[in-house]
């Protein structure tokens, strides 16, 4: 019987020592909403589980020089209730809030969603678009990594042995900025995204886009940051021509597979549709117009 042990360290160092020192497979547990499913189905047989929820800094969200620092073990339901954070980063919080159900929201975390490294993760395209930064701790201390460098492929990350994410930082927002996340699912809840799209933009007074990041989920082995799609927005207002170019750029970036959730052709087309719809919500929000809550 493979034995499985559990530890709930109360300091970063203790956690790192446990993870780095583990002989067999060691996994971090914050929400556990992916980890426990994979353990139950036998896909993952860890020998050590390190619960990060008791590590100072892993829980809660605080402001820091204009941006936000979010503890990696903070459940979605806690962030969803943070009106200030939600007002500033509606896209990121809506993306996290779309994961699973209310029950899942009671546990799931941004870092868990990111490190599970599913190409269809909901919060990850929104974090890519937001330009989030991950505070990674490990045997050689603390380092800050742009979120898009974390996923390496389906189920794989670029974190080294003994490393885990302690916090996720959302940068300060220049005025007239807005972000949004939409996904397509066959039902209205409880599904994994067939396609996901995160858009974050900053506009000038005339409503012309001066900065943009566009990200797509479930259309490639990892979540994609689509430069061409961003370039289609920069320097433009959201007129019909820009929308058409955005749609085309999004479709061109898609390298999806046929699987139980969607076909190549369908995912590609819907990627274009979602890019347009997400961008228009982001533009509205950047101009202070409240835009429909994504369900």
């Amino acid at each position: 019987m493979s034995s499985l042990s559990y530890a709930a360290p109360t300091s970063v160092d203790e956690a790192v020592k446990l993870l780095a020192g583990a002989s067999g497979l060691a996994k971090v547990l914050s929400g556990g909403t992916d980890l426990l499913v994979q353990m139950r189905s036998g896909r993952l047989k860890p020998e050590l589980i390190v619960d990060t929820k008791k590590i100072p800094g892993a829980m809660g969200a605080r402001r820091e020089n204009g941006g936000w620092v979010i503890g990696a073990a903070t459940p979605g339901a806690v962030l969803e209730a943070n009106e200030e954070l939600k007002a500033e980063w509606p896209g990121v919080i809506e993306a996290l809030d779309l994961i699973g159900s209310t029950q899942i929201q009671g546990r799931c975390t941004l870092a868990g969603n990111l490190c599970n490294a599913s190409p269809a993760a909901d919060s990850v395209p929104a974090m890519f678009a937001a330009g989030a930064i991950c505070v990674v701790v490990g045997p050689n201390g603390k380092r800050e990594v742009p979120v898009e460098q974390i996923p390496a492929g389906p189920g794989r990350t670029n974190l080294a042995k003994g490393e885990f994410i302690l916090e996720i930082k959302l940068p300060a927002r220049p005025p007239r900025s807005g972000d949004a996340y939409l996904r397509f699912i066959p039902r209205t809840e409880m599904d994994i995204a067939v396609v996901g799209c995160g858009v974050s933009v900053t506009l000038n007074e005339q409503g012309v886009c001066t900065a943009a990041r566009v990200s797509l989920g479930a259309v490639a082995p990892t979540v994609l940051l689509v430069a061409d799609a961003a370039n289609a927005l920069i320097g433009h207002t959201l007129d019909a021509d820009t929308l058409a170019k955005l749609d085309a750029a999004a479709q061109a970036a898609c390298k999806p597979i046929n699987d139980k959730r969607g076909t190549v052709e369908y995912r590609t087309k819907v990627a274009g549709v979602l890019a347009r719809r997400t961008a228009s919500i982001a533009f509205d929000r950047a101009q202070g117009k409240s835009s429909g809550k994504a369900h």
């Binding site: 039902r187 809840e189 139980k260 087309k269």
Partner: protein, 755 residues
């Protein structure tokens, strides 16, 4: 005695069900909730291959694992000759049932049970499964029904020859049976038709989706007595099938009915009980087996996937003169798809002079098909009701008018033989036409669809007892598992007959040793058949109460009258004595002859057929193909609603299952014939935010063959939804979707094609 239209006091009201508090407080005991001392945990090893010969099974390493107490394979089960006996649900072939519960020589589908272990903890049992070495010779497989019919398709059963084929076949085939139904002359009818419409429709296998996985706890005692605690739609069925498969006397098997967490037909047969009994016998300890959700999807029967061609000919005024159907139903690993009802139900709603229906029952490498709510009817009606929508469109007639013009009435002869009696289809259509939903114009951007449905509803054997307790309260017991509130309706019928308040009547479900045989809960039969037994038992008790009063008052029994729960002296003795209620009579029970109770068994005949019509408004997101159900109304003839809330609940639940079947439910296989979505994440049942309120409209055309006018209600509501939604999509987006499910990728592709 007949109570139709006789000023009812209890029947028709909405009391709280007797088992309700336990269910909202978590105290109700379902199959997996029981533990006994010394209990072992059983787990089943299932074939990873869709089709494979089992060359050798080596269980030695598993048996050696500390904590493993017993292991079993097909060798531990009697090899039953191909004997077909009808016990319980449908013509169940006991050889097939035994082979389905434990594969012998050949694994016929991915998930097919090949061995089982019992150990002291679930973890040890799980590990032991990994130590069982099964040598397979993987064979080519076939899943799709039409592929399975082709020459050269991999043959599942070398000894199976098509039954009912002309001339008698010489080669084994995957086609188990051919069924034909004829009325009049279809060819002549089509020549007479002024308009002909045709269509090919396909449906995918879908699962009943009950939230409670199958579970049981069995113990085989030293003296050969067997105790089973399990949830099912029929504990008498469990006893009969387990006795048959293991060669044990039914008297030696006692099955205690746990609360059942949903069945919808999927728990009208057994998967685990014989395995648990064998493991218990070999280990000398009770064994509990509990399927995981993945096992439920890989190892238990869905309803058939199907391919249907249908043709309808009509006059310009909408009168249908000819109808033809060819149905191919997937039966899974063993024969037994619902091809019979599938052939019968499609045109049963209409008065058509010339009908020709041909049906095929076809095996393929998928789990053995099990019943699913009006088995076969939703599939055939999806095709017929979709094509009728095309016909109405072609003729420029309103779809409801087309149904009204051709609706079956009393004395309409069906194409499968019987003549409709006491049916309420016209009343349903009238109620539909006058309903606000039908009368309000469709909102801009939305589409509206109409479809109708039929189901026979069955009667059959039931037993009920009524006991008057010493304090005058009443205990009712029946042999019918209560899935949707039938304990409430049983108690209400008894309370009505005895004239007492429902709060003084408690109903329970008795185990197989405590009540007479009762056929399983299915076919929408319980309120009809078991209700009939309970009503007759209450009448016997009422007569006994009058006899006791007569004795107390020393007057002839026919001089006693029963009214509003009391005995009254009547005729010349009127007013001579104070009336006696149950409590007063029960007090004297010992002196007047002993306990007051009655047990009645019936084989209920005259089950009234049920008809329904559903109206559905949808909106379609044309860029993603996503369908939103905006409004849903289900009109149905329910005969007499004993407890209206639970009748409405059956209609709402059946409609929601139909919505899931229409939009997103399907099995997805990989290229090795293995299921890729064996879980509630990717097998997409509707969630609360997917559906609006579902308005259930109860039309009451009493069934005279039941004391309260009851007809079955549980199965009709799942028949209309798929076509109602398909017709609404055509109205909203202009595309006809002939293949289920009408999921977003399929709808978007159809919209792109339509340009």
């Amino acid at each position: 005695m007949n109570y139709i239209d006789s000023g009812l006091k209890v029947v028709g009201t909405r009391p709280i069900r007797p088992d309700g508090v336990d269910k909202v407080t978590g105290r109700a005991v379902f199959a997996a909730d029981t533990r006994v001392a010394g209990m072992l945990w059983g787990k089943i090893l299932r074939s990873p291959h869709a089709h494979a010969r089992i060359v050798k099974i080596d269980t030695s390493k598993a048996e050696a694992l500390p904590g493993v107490k017993s292991v079993c394979t097909a060798a531990d089960f009697p090899d039953i000759p191909s004997e077909e006996a009808f016990v319980g649900e449908g013509p169940m072939n006991f050889r097939d049932l035994s082979l389905n519960i434990m594969a012998r020589g050949k694994a016929l589908y991915e998930g097919h049970a090949v061995a089982a272990v019992a150990a002291t903890t679930p973890a040890i049992a799980g590990e032991a499964l990994g130590l069982i070495d099964v040598q397979y010779e993987v064979l080519p497989f076939v899943i799709d029904v039409e592929d399975a019919m082709k020459d050269g398709a991999p043959i599942l059963h070398d000894d199976m020859f098509t039954q009912g084929a002309d001339p008698k076949p010489t080669k084994p085939s995957n086609i188990a049976k051919v069924v034909k139904f004829k009325k009049g002359d279809a060819n002549a009818g089509f020549k007479d038709a002024e308009v002909i419409v045709e269509g090919r429709y396909t449906t995918k296998p879908v699962h009943q989706g009950y939230i409670e996985p199958h579970a049981c706890l069995a113990s085989y005692n030293a003296d050969g007595q067997v105790n089973i605690h399990a949830s099912s739609q029929g504990h008498f069925m469990i006893r009969a099938y387990t006795a048959k498969l293991l060669g044990i006397d039914m008297a030696s098997i006692r099955v205690n009915p746990a609360e059942i967490g949903g069945g919808f037909g999927g728990k009208t047969l057994i998967y685990l009980e014989p395995v648990a009994v064998v493991l218990s016998r070999k280990a000398g300890k009770p064994v509990k087996i509990q399927m995981t959700r993945e096992e439920v999807f890989r190892g238990s029967g869905p309803t058939s996937g199907a391919a249907i061609e249908v043709k309808i000919g009509a006059k310009k005024d909408g009168t249908i003169v000819a109808a033809q159907q060819v149905l191919k139903f997937q039966a899974g690993a063993f024969p037994g798809s619902p091809i019979g009802p599938g052939c019968m139900c499609g045109f049963a709603l209409y008065d058509i002079p010339n009908v020709d229906v041909l049906g095929y029952d076809v095996v393929s490498n998928r789990p053995k098909v099990a019943a699913y709510r009006a088995p076969g009817a939703p599939i055939t009606s999806f095709a017929v009701e979709s094509l009728l929508d095309e016909l109405a469109d072609k003729l420029g007639i309103d779809p409801l008018a087309l149904r009204e013009k051709n609706a079956a009435k009393n004395d309409t002869k069906t194409h499968y033989g019987p003549t409709h009696q006491n049916i309420g289809f016209e009343a349903v259509l009238a109620a539909t036409r006058s309903h606000p939903h039908w009368k309000t114009p469709v909102k801009p951007g939305q589409g509206r669809g109409l479809a109708c449905g039929f189901w026979f509803n069955i009667g059959g054997e039931s037993t009920a007892t009524v006991h008057v307790n010493e304090d005058g309260s009443v205990t009712v017991a029946t042999g019918s598992p209560d899935i949707g509130g039938s304990r409430a309706s049983m108690g209400m019928m008894v309370a009505e007959v005895l004239g007492v308040d429902i709060s003084r009547v408690r109903t329970t479900v008795a185990d197989t040793a405590s009540i007479g045989f009762t056929h399983l809960t299915g076919g929408s039969r319980v309120t009809f058949a078991t209700g009939m037994a309970a009503t007759q038992a209450a009448e016997k008790v009422r007569d006994d109460l009058k006899k006791r009063a007569a004795q107390i008052w020393e007057i002839p029994v026919d001089a006693v009258e029963w009214k509003d729960g009391k005995a009254y002296p009547a005729g010349s003795n009127a007013g001579a004595f104070e009336p006696l209620d149950l409590e007063a009579i029960a007090l004297k029970a010992a002196r007047t002859g002993g306990p007051i109770n009655a047990e009645v068994s019936v084989n209920a005949q005259g089950a009234g057929a049920g008809f329904g019509a559903h109206i559905c408004d949808v909106s379609v997101d044309k860029e993603t193909g996503h369908v939103t159900i905006e409004r849903y109304t289900a009109v149905q003839d329910v005969g007499k609603a004993i407890h209206p809330s639970y009748v409405e609940g059956q209609i709402q639940g059946g409609a929601a299952q139909g919505i899931g079947w229409a939009l997103n439910e399907e099995y997805i296989y990989n290229d090795k014939g293995q299921l890729e979505n064996p879980g509630f994440l990717d097998y997409r049942c509707p969630v609360a935010s997917d559906v609006p309120m579902i308005e259930a409209v109860l039309v009451e055309v009493p069934n005279p063959r039941h004391p309260f006018g009851v007809r079955g209600v549980g199965e009709v509501p799942i028949v209309p939804p798929m076509a109602a939604i398909a017709n609404a999509i055509r109205d909203a987006a202009g595309v006809r979707m002939p293949d289920l499910p009408m999921s977003p990728p399929r709808l978007r592709a159809a919209l792109d094609q339509a340009g």
